[in-house]
Each structure stands twice: as structure tokens, then as C-alpha cells.
């Protein structure tokens, strides 16, 4: 299971990095989304893989998953939504002002 999750995170990261390096805004936004999935999963996995032990205190449970990475990732998800939104609007604004959707406004060699 650990190997599978590691590969999954690796694929998400690789895809995200590749798309971030594209020269048009929309693929970059997609890339950031993929990358943030990868990063969020990676952060979350710092609490190790624990099945069936949500960190909700009850008399029946004996141990719990680590709540700290979860709390971190929860806000990270919301913040990355805000940042995605910000970048999308930036892309729209750039499209409007520059007349194209290239990340640099023009093709820089």
C-alpha cells in the first residue's frame, strides 16, 4: 500500500510539474491543481497510512490517526482553492490586457 501511494504522489507531482512548465495559462492552472493534490497528499501522509481510526475521540477507539497533518492539510486545501482562483483571474486579466494567454504575455526566448 505504501509503495502504491508513493507512486501515486510521484505521478501527481510529475504531471503537475510538467504542466506548470507549459507556456499557456490554462495548462499551468491545471498543473498547479495537480501539484497541490500531490503536495496535500504528501503532507497528509506524514501522519503515515492509518486505516479506520479517524481522530475523533470515542470510548470505543484505542488509537487514532495523527490529527496534526490533517488540520494542516484542511486549511491547505482551502487556501489552495483561493490561490487557484486568484491565478485563474490573473490569467483572465492577462488574457484581456496582453491579448494572449501565454504565461509571459509573449513568447520569451
Amino acid at each position: 500500500m505504501e509503495a502504491m501511494i508513493s507512486i501515486l504522489i510521484g505521478v501527481l507531482t510529475a504531471g503537475g510539474v510538467y504542466l506548470c512548465l507549459r507556456s499557456h495559462t490554462f495548462p499551468v492552472v491545471l498543473g498547479l491543481t495537480l501539484l497541490s493534490y500531490g503536495v496535500n497528499l504528501f503532507l497528509f501522509m506524514m501522519g503515515r497510512l492509518v486505516i479506520g481510526k479517524p481522530p475523533i475521540i470515542s470510548d470505543d477507539a484505542s488509537s487514532y490517526a495523527d490529527p496534526i497533518p490533517q488540520a494542516l492539510v484542511l486549511t491547505a486545501i482551502v487556501i489552495s482553492f483561493a490561490m487557484t482562483a486568484y491565478i485563474i483571474v490573473l490569467a483572465l486579466k492577462a488574457r484581456n490586457e496582453m491579448g494572449n494567454d501565454h504565461v509571459d504575455g509573449k513568447d520569451v526566448r
Binding site: I9, L12, T13, L21, F44, M46, I57, F81, L92, G99
Partner: protein, 989 residues
């Protein structure tokens, strides 16, 4: 506490003055006067307590005791003298400025800055803790920047302000280092300890570096050579500012520091050489340059530099009598220099110029001003019966007596006398050149006497020049008090008198005055000599060159790293990160795989993971088909939510699901305005490079994840799990962490969220976007935007969805849920309404402006935190209790719940703000479409048919309205737009 309040009052007054302009133009002056009088009123009883030579030290509650940073104030004779100077001269300047500023100048802004400065200055002189002193020190640099650049439209004002800030700011930085060392040497940052620890400080191995750093701070502030050049350039400030900052207060801050730290630092050879040497050089150079300045204010600026040098030199001599003379000259200089600046301002105000090559013979039109100027200039020149004479003669006496410390016994008195000659000459020039010296030529304004309001402040300041000059013993009580507290020792025997008999000092005074008259009468020859070397000797040129080189270097470095290409910056970033990661991995010997027991793979998980991997790879492969890629990336997101559920994170799964929905809507909205496809890459090499970077990044992260996941670890989680119910009153540890244990972090996060929302709002404001008619494959968009079935169902769904959101919010403390998730669910429910029913319909039911929502959310969260102060707990301490309600049973009520509601409101407000505004643009562009003629589409097939660019009506389309208005201002930004337009439809390759 009185001292803290009296320092605080000007700051409060500054806030009031800024607003009081609404009540009329002059109300701000009244508010400023009231602020100063209140400070004086508070100072009054305290001042009487220290007249017997005692010291008041008032400690405020500790701030950072670990760092030795306490808020503490101190009042003794020295602090009293400076406080009185700051407040009384400030009062006079406020009255003067009321009449000086013209109708175009904003009074409120002026007085607000002035009071800011006054408060900072009071803070310096009343500080007991030197770190606190430094804080106020920097505040004076900042507020003086604002004052110097008060006339923002003038280029020289902003240049002068920048220069002053650079020099004094750099000095402040050096002083910070010096103070930290000083604090370590004395074992405390409290002045009381430092002043008593002089012996240990002077014998410390690092005494010299510390002294150099502290002196750098003092000398830059007091415009000592070679840092003097900022002061003349700061003369671009309005004259009341020059009179206040550049004669009486700010430039004296450096001298205050020398006086304050005198018992701790002085007396060593290093001190004597550095301080008196700098003072001597500054005194002579300042006096020499002052003579050749044709601008009245520039002359006064250099003369100020010169007088400051004189005072610094006296402190450097390090004898009790020299200190006494220095402090006496501080008092005298303040009154005559402030009045002279005001007189220069009067001349400027009434004639329109300060150029002494044009000004002459003004005594006929302005006789009273001429009289006042002659009196003040006589004090500056050191003529008997004026206050300047007495302190200057004491200065001469000290140089004769102790000059041998500095070298040849006769040399110092000679140099000093030469300086005195120039001082007499420029004083004479100021009075004679302007008010006598022939007939007044045509001036920009017809000169006449100024209003009483401008004369009165000058009279107030000139009066002590005469009184002290004739009856100097009147100043003795105050002087003794100040000198006693400066020396922290007994005051030496002295007597202030006009006549001390024939002695070298008197001879030097006479020589200086006679020489001054001689030099002034031969001034044409000196001017001719000076024009030949003019501009070559100025430190300003060195400064400008240094600054230019610094800018050139930094821009060269920046341009090397960043050629304005995001792609390039990103790949450098990625490659660096990957390189560092692999380096770290390869340079340690620890194995990749740890020894934690691994989990078995179950078929369901394997399937989800495979689907996610497939979707992610397809997203990359098909990213040119933008819509398809969007669907695929959402699939990955849903997979992430499933992963969270699998691995015991229900809160995360809920959050991810809700965010996924909102993000998808957002991306769809954006995609509508962007080209539907991405053109092919032309550069195969670059594509290959990116693939290599991406694969190494993926490999690195996968390896890192695997290394982490196979190892055991210890976590601090146990504390939170144990204390969640007992300390936070909630069973859902994740939620308790967010709203209680780490509530301050969450507070910051929702603030970031709110800021992002507002930023987006600002960017979308006035943005006009074109909507394409067809999608990428040439199919027209469906005009039927709101299908009936969807609209009907979504309306039915809304109450239910909101109920779910509230349920999730309320239960969040104990079960999966909470403010973030509930907020996202609410937004999702509302966004569905917009999607199904259209923006217009929904806006008529719901307010589109969600700013109040965001603001109230932040306020609720913050006030929950502040409420705990009220009960004597630290910020954001939560409390909870159990209530028993009929029917509902036992019910837990935590104060963190209120915080969570704040979070909820911010999340709802921000996500709605973003989507509604984007949707509104959508709406506008849709409505506008039928009335417009053929609009260029972004699809390649369409774009090919669009006529060649360059047609004027075509240009305007791509410019938002606000941008057009700004075109003139932002010429730099306009160019690329225009050039891209000229090049042709740029979005089409």
C-alpha cells in the same frame, strides 16, 4: 504611566487631525494644539518632581522579558529639557504652519505627520529601555520622510526625503547593532543600568566596535561629516518642517544620544578622538560651505550642520564644563535657528524666492522682519548681549583649555577661530544681503510684512535669545539640572556671565566677529574661488554615485536570474529543488526503506489508485483539449477525497469534495473566456527537458514519500488527542486543533483567504471580457442558459443543502465538519442557484456584495480571541460548558464555536465573492454579445478569418475602461499591449 500617556498623545492626536479636516480647514491645527497642550499638561506635574535632580522611571507591563525588551519611560533633567524643546517649539511651529501653508496644501496631512514625528521624538527622549528608544528613533526617520516629501509633486522633495531616509535608516541599523552590544556589555537594556555600568562598558574588549556603531547612528542623525549632505537636501520640506526637524529636534536626536550615553561611553581616547574630531571637521566645513549657499534655507542648513558639529565637539572633549557648554548651546541654537528658519520662510512666503542673489533691500518693505532677522542672526554669529555669544565663548574657552588632547595646543583654537569667522560671515550675509545691500529688484511677489500669525512664533523664539543674552544667569537653574542628569554626577562650579575679563576666549570671539565682517566684505573674491571648485567636493555626489552603482548591480543580478519569463524561473526553481533533494539523499548513508510494518493492498484501493494515476497521466497527455483535461483533473480530485476517507481523514474528504465542486465551476467559468485548446508545442527540445524535470521531480517525491511512509515516527499528537475533550471541549481533534489549539494560525489563514478574495474582486472590477460564440470545435454555445428542470430542482434543493451546511457547522466540534466545510457546502449550494437560475435572478434574491459577510466573519473570529483578554486569558483562549436544553438533551457550548462561525462566514463570503463576480462578467459579456458585431474568436479556424489588425475599433476592445484612463500614467505598461496589437492577433500563433 504618565510618561507613556504623554508620549502616546501626539500619536492619538495624529489620527484625529487626519480626520478633523472634514470639520474645516483649520480644525486640524486646533486639534494639534490641543494634543501638544495635553502632553504639556501631563508633563507639568512630573517636571516639578525632577527639579531636585531625581529621576522618574516608569515601567509598563513587560513585553518581551526574555529579550530584555521592556517598555519603560524615564524622565530626568536631560529628558525634561528635550521634551520641553520638542513640545514648545512644536507648539510654535504648529501656529506658524497654520499661516504658512497655502490653500492647496492639505493641513490635516501636515499636522498628522508633524504629530507623528513629535510623538516619536518624545519617545526617544523619554525612553528608559534603549531598544524602545531605537524603535522611536526609527519612527522619527519614517515620519521625517513623510514630512520632507510632504509636497509629493516635487521631484526634489521625494529625492531629498529618500536620501534622508537612506542615510538615517542606515545609521539606525548600525545603532541597532551597537545597542545590542551595549546591552550585552551592561547586562541590561535599561538606561539606569547602562549609565551605572560605564566602567565595565569602557573596559570591554568590544568597546570600540560598539562605540563606532552607536556613533554611526548618532552622526547620521545629527548630520555630522561625512553624512551631513542629507540635511541640505531635506530642505525641500516645507519651512515649518525645517524649523522643527532640522534645527530644533530631529538633528538634535543624535546629540541627545551622545548626552544620554555620555556617562557610559565618554572619556576614553577613542571617544575623544572620534567625537571631537568629527565635531571639529563638521563645524569648520559646515561654516565654510554655508557662506557660499545662495538659498537662504541652504545657508541655514549648513550653518545647522556647523553648529551641530560645535556641540558634538564639546561632548567629545569630555570635561564637565564642555558638556555644560554643549548643553547650553543646544538650548541657544534651538531658539535662534528655529526662528531664523521661520524668518526665511516668511521671506519666501512674501517674496516668492529664497535666492539671496535676487533678494536685497527688503528692510523697506519688511522692516519688522528685518529687525527680527538681525536679532536672531546676531545670536547665531555670537555677538555679545545675545545668547549665542555666551555659549560660543564657552566653546572657545574649552577648545583653548583642552585642545591639546587633539594635537598641537595652538592648532585647534586656530581652526575653531577660522570656523567662527565663517560663522560670523554667513550670519552677516543672511541679514545684510537680504534686508540691506541696495534696492529690491522685481520679485515674483510684491514683498510686504507677513500676517501676525507668522510673526508671533518668531517673536516667541527671539525673545529668549535676548533675555538669556543679557541676563544669562536666568538659565542657570535649568542648565544645572540638565547637566547634572547628563553627567550623572555633581555639576561643576560655573557662572554664566557676559564678561569674564580679557582672556583667550574673548580674543577668539572678537577675532571671529571682526574676521567675519572682513570675509563678508570681500565675499565676491571668495565666491569666485568657490565657483571653480563648486560641486566637486560634495559628498552628495559620492552618495549619488554609490546609489546608482547599487541599483545597477541589483538590476544586473535580477536580470541575470529573471528574464521576465515565468517558465524560465519555474524550471530553475524546480531544478534547484530537485538537485538539493537528490544531493541530500545521496550524501547520507541511510537506506531508502525503513522498517515499519507495511499495509497490504486491497483491490478497491488499488483500483482507485490506478484510476487516479490514469486520470493524472491523461490530464497531462490531453491537456491541449482543455475541457477534457478539466474533467480528468476533477476525477483526480475526487480520487484524492476517496484517499482521505480510506486513511481516516473524514474532515479532509468533506473539504476536498466541496472544494472540488467549486473549483470545477470556477475553472469552467474561466475556460469560457480562454481559448478552448492549447496550440502544439513547437520546441521539442524544451518539451524533452520539461519531461526530464517532471520525471525527476516525481521520482524524488515518490522516493521521499516511500522513505517516510516506511519509517516509524513520534508525534506530538498525543497531547492534542489527550487534551481535546478536556481542554477544547470537542471530540473532533482536527476541528479542535483548527479553532482552539492552533486558532491563531486559522485566524491568519482566513485572513489570507479574505485577502485573496478581495484581490480577485479588485482584478475583476471593470474588467471587460469577450465571450466567444463557439467552443473549440466550432459548436455554438447553447443560448438556453437556464434549463427549467435544473432550475426547479435546485430551488427545491437549496433549503436542504443549507440545512446540511448548518448541521455540519454545529456538529463540527465533535464529529467531522466545522466552519471550513460548512462554508464550502453553503457556497456550493448557493453557486448551484446561480448556475441554474442565472446571476440576475439569484442576485435579486441574494445580495451579490459579500464584503460585509467576509468582514463580519473576520470580526467575529477576532473578537472571540479578544474576548478572552477580558477574562484575563491570552488571545484566543477558548472556554466551554455543558447546557441542558429540553428535548435536545445535553448540549455542549464552546466559545470556539463562535470562532468557527467566523471561519464559516469568511469561507462563504470569499468563495461567493469570487464566483459571483466571475459569473457577473460572464453575464455582462453574454448580454453584450448580440449588439456587437463579429467578435474575434479564439479558435484557430475562426481567428484565421479575422481581418488584419490595426483597425482602430479593434484595438479598443481589448482594453478595459479603467486601463484607458491610466494609459497616460502607465506608459510603460501600455507599450507591450499596443505592440502586441500591432503584431497581430496575438492569441493566435
Amino acid at each position: 504611566m504618565g510618561l507613556a500617556y504623554l508620549t502616546l498623545i501626539p500619536f492619538i492626536g495624529a489620527a484625529f487631525t487626519a480626520f478633523s479636516t472634514r470639520l474645516g480647514r483649520y480644525s486640524s491645527a486646533w486639534v494639534a494644539v490641543v494634543a501638544v497642550l495635553s502632553s504639556l499638561f501631563l508633563l507639568w506635574p512630573l517636571a516639578w518632581q525632577v527639579t531636585d535632580g531625581s529621576t522618574i522611571v516608569q515601567h509598563l507591563p513587560q513585553w518581551m522579558p526574555e529579550l530584555g525588551f521592556n517598555l519603560a519611560f524615564r524622565l530626568d533633567g536631560l529628558a525634561l529639557l528635550f521634551s520641553l524643546m520638542i513640545l514648545l517649539v512644536g507648539l510654535v511651529v504648529i501656529i506658524y504652519a497654520r499661516y504658512y501653508l497655502s490653500a492647496r496644501d492639505s493641513m490635516g496631512r501636515f499636522y498628522a505627520y508633524l504629530l507623528l514625528f513629535m510623538g516619536s521624538m518624545l519617545g526617544i527622549v523619554l525612553s528608559e529601555n534603549i531598544l524602545q528608544l531605537l524603535m522611536f528613533w526609527e519612527l522619527t526617520s519614517l515620519s521625517s520622510f513623510l514630512l520632507i516629501s510632504y509636497w509629493q509633486q516635487r521631484e526634489e522633495a521625494s529625492r531629498g526625503a529618500r536620501m534622508a531616509l537612506t542615510i538615517t535608516g542606515a545609521g539606525g541599523l548600525a545603532m541597532l547593532g551597537g545597542f545590542l552590544m551595549l546591552g550585552k556589555m551592561a547586562g541590561s537594556y535599561e538606561l539606569s543600568d547602562i549609565l551605572n555600568g560605564g566602567e565595565a562598558i569602557r573596559n570591554h574588549a568590544l568597546y570600540l566596535p560598539m562605540l563606532l556603531l552607536v556613533l554611526l547612528g548618532a552622526f547620521t542623525k545629527s548630520a555630522q561629516f561625512p553624512f551631513h549632505f542629507w540635511l541640505p537636501n531635506a530642505m525641500a520640506a516645507p519651512t515649518p518642517v525645517s524649523a522643527y526637524l532640522h534645527s530644533a529636534t530631529m538633528v538634535k536626536a543624535g546629540i541627545f544620544l551622545l548626552a544620554r550615553l555620555y556617562p557610559a561611553l565618554s572619556g576614553t581616547p577613542e571617544w575623544i578622538w572620534l567625537v571631537s574630531g568629527t565635531g571639529l571637521v563638521t563645524f569648520v566645513i559646515g561654516a565654510y560651505i554655508a557662506l557660499f549657499k545662495h538659498d537662504m534655507k541652504a545657508l541655514l542648513a549648513y550653518s545647522t550642520i556647523s553648529h551641530l558639529g560645535l556641540i558634538v565637539m564639546l561632548f567629545g572633549i569630555s570635561t564637565p564644563l564642555a558638556v555644560l557648554a554643549g548643553i547650553f548651546h543646544i538650548m541657544n541654537h534651538t531658539v535662534f535657528k528655529a526662528s531664523l528658519f521661520m524668518l526665511a520662510g516668511i521671506v519666501d512666503h512674501e517674496t516668492g524666492t529664497r535666492d539671496m542673489r535676487q533678494l536685497r533691500g527688503l528692510r523697506r518693505s519688511m522692516p519688522y522682519t528685518a529687525l527680527l532677522t538681525c536679532l536672531a542672526a546676531a545670536a547665531m554669529a555670537g555677538i555679545p548681549l545675545f545668547n549665542g555669544f555666551i555659549s560660543k565663548e564657552m566653546f572657545f574657552a574649552e577648545t583653548v583649555e583642552h585642545g591639546q588632547h587633539l594635537g598641537l595646543a595652538w592648532l585647534v583654537p586656530v581652526i575653531v577661530t577660522v570656523g567662527g569667522i565663517f560663522a560670523a560671515a554667513y550670519s552677516l550675509r543672511l541679514a545684510h544681503n537680504v534686508f540691506f545691500n541696495g534696492v529690491t529688484p522685481d520679485l515674483p511677489k510684491t514683498p510686504h510684512e507677513p500676517s501676525r500669525g507668522m510673526q508671533l512664533p518668531v517673536e516667541i523664539l527671539v525673545l529668549p535669545c535676548l533675555v538669556i543674552g543679557i541676563a544669562p544667569s536666568l538659565a542657570e537653574p535649568l542648565l544645572s539640572l540638565v547637566v547634572g542628569s547628563t553627567l550623572q554626577a555633581a555639576v561643576p562650579e560655573y557662572h554664566l556671565a557676559i564678561w569674564h575679563g580679557f582672556n583667550p576666549a574673548l580674543l577668539m570671539s572678537m577675532l571671529a566677529v571682526a574676521g567675519g565682517i572682513l570675509v563678508y566684505s570681500q565675499r565676491e573674491k571668495f565666491f569666485a574661488l568657490q565657483t571653480r571648485v563648486d560641486g566637486k567636493l560634495e559628498a552628495k555626489i559620492l552618495y549619488n554615485g554609490t546609489i546608482r552603482r547599487l541599483f545597477a548591480w541589483s538590476s544586473a543580478i535580477t536580470m541575470n536570474a529573471d528574464n521576465l519569463s515565468q517558465k524560465r524561473m519555474l524550471w530553475i526553481l524546480f531544478v534547484t529543488a530537485i538537485g538539493l533533494g537528490f544531493y541530500g539523499f545521496l550524501s547520507t548513508a541511510s537506506p531508502l526503506v525503513g522498517d515499519r510494518e507495511l499495509l497490504p493492498v486491497d483491490p478497491m484501493s488499488a483500483m482507485v489508485a490506478l484510476i487516479m494515476i490514469a486520470a493524472a497521466i491523461s490530464t497531462v497527455l490531453m491537456h491541449q483539449q482543455r475541457f477534457t483535461a478539466l474533467v480528468l483533473v476533477s476525477a483526480v480530485g475526487l480520487g484524492v477525497a476517496l484517499t482521505f476517507i480510506k486513511f481516516s481523514a473524514p474532515d479532509l474528504a468533506l473539504t476536498q469534495l466541496a472544494v472540488e465542486f467549486i473549483t470545477a465551476v470556477l475553472l469552467l467559468l474561466a475556460l469560457f473566456f480562454l481559448p478552448q485548446t492549447t496550440p502544439d508545442e513547437r520546441d521539442r527540445w524544451r518539451q524533452g527537458r520539461d519531461i526530464v524535470i517532471a520525471l525527476s521531480a516525481g521520482l524524488g517525491i515518490a522516493g521521499l514519500s516511500y522513505a517516510v511512509l516506511t519509517r516509524e515516527y513520534t508525534s506530538i499528537a498525543d497531547y492534542f488527542i489527550t487534551n481535546s475533550v478536556s481542554g477544547g471541549g470537542g471530540a473532533n481533534v482536527v476541528n479542535v486543533l483548527l479553532v482552539d489549539f492552533r486558532g491563531f494560525d486559522t485566524m491568519g489563514e482566513i485572513t489570507v483567504l479574505a485577502l485573496a478574495g478581495l484581490g480577485i474582486y479588485a482584478m475583476l472590477d471593470q474588467l471587460k471580457l469577450l465571450s466567444p460564440k463557439q467552443d473549440g470545435d466550432g459548436r455554438p454555445w447553447n443560448p438556453d442558459t437556464h434549463p427549467l428542470i435544473m432550475a426547479t430542482f435546485s430551488r427545491l434543493l437549496l433549503p436542504l443543502a443549507l440545512l446540511v451546511a448548518i448541521f455540519i457547522l454545529l456538529r463540527g466540534h465533535n464529529l467531522p465538519g466545522g466552519g471550513f466545510i460548512a462554508g464550502l457546502v453553503t457556497s456550493a449550494a448557493l453557486i448551484v442557484q446561480y448556475l441554474a437560475n442565472g446571476v440576475e435572478w439569484t442576485r435579486s434574491k441574494l445580495p451579490a456584495n459579500t464584503h460585509p459577510l467576509i468582514g463580519s466573519g473576520l470580526l467575529i473570529a477576532a473578537s472571540t480571541g479578544i474576548a478572552s483578554w477580558y477574562f484575563g486569558y491570552p488571545f484566543l483562549t477558548s472556554t466551554f460548558s455543558h447546557l441542558h436544553l429540553p428535548l435536545l438533551g445535553d448540549f455542549e457550548l464552546a466559545s470556539a464555536m463562535a470562532f468557527d462561525i467566523g471561519v464559516y462566514l469568511v469561507v462563504v463570503g470569499t468563495s461567493l465573492l469570487i464566483l459571483i463576480n466571475l459569473g457577473l462578467i460572464h453575464q455582462i459579456s453574454f448580454q453584450a454579445r448580440p449588439s456587437k458585431r463579429a467578435v474575434p474568436s479564439s479558435s484557430p479556424a475562426q481567428a484565421a478569418q479575422v481581418p488584419k489588425p490595426g483597425k482602430p475599433n479593434h484595438k479598443k476592445r481589448w482594453l478595459p475602461k479603467r486601463h484607458e484612463a491610466r494609459q497616460g500614467v502607465q506608459a510603460g505598461r501600455r507599450k507591450p499591449i499596443m505592440s502586441t496589437i500591432k503584431r497581430g492577433l496575438p492569441w493566435k500563433r
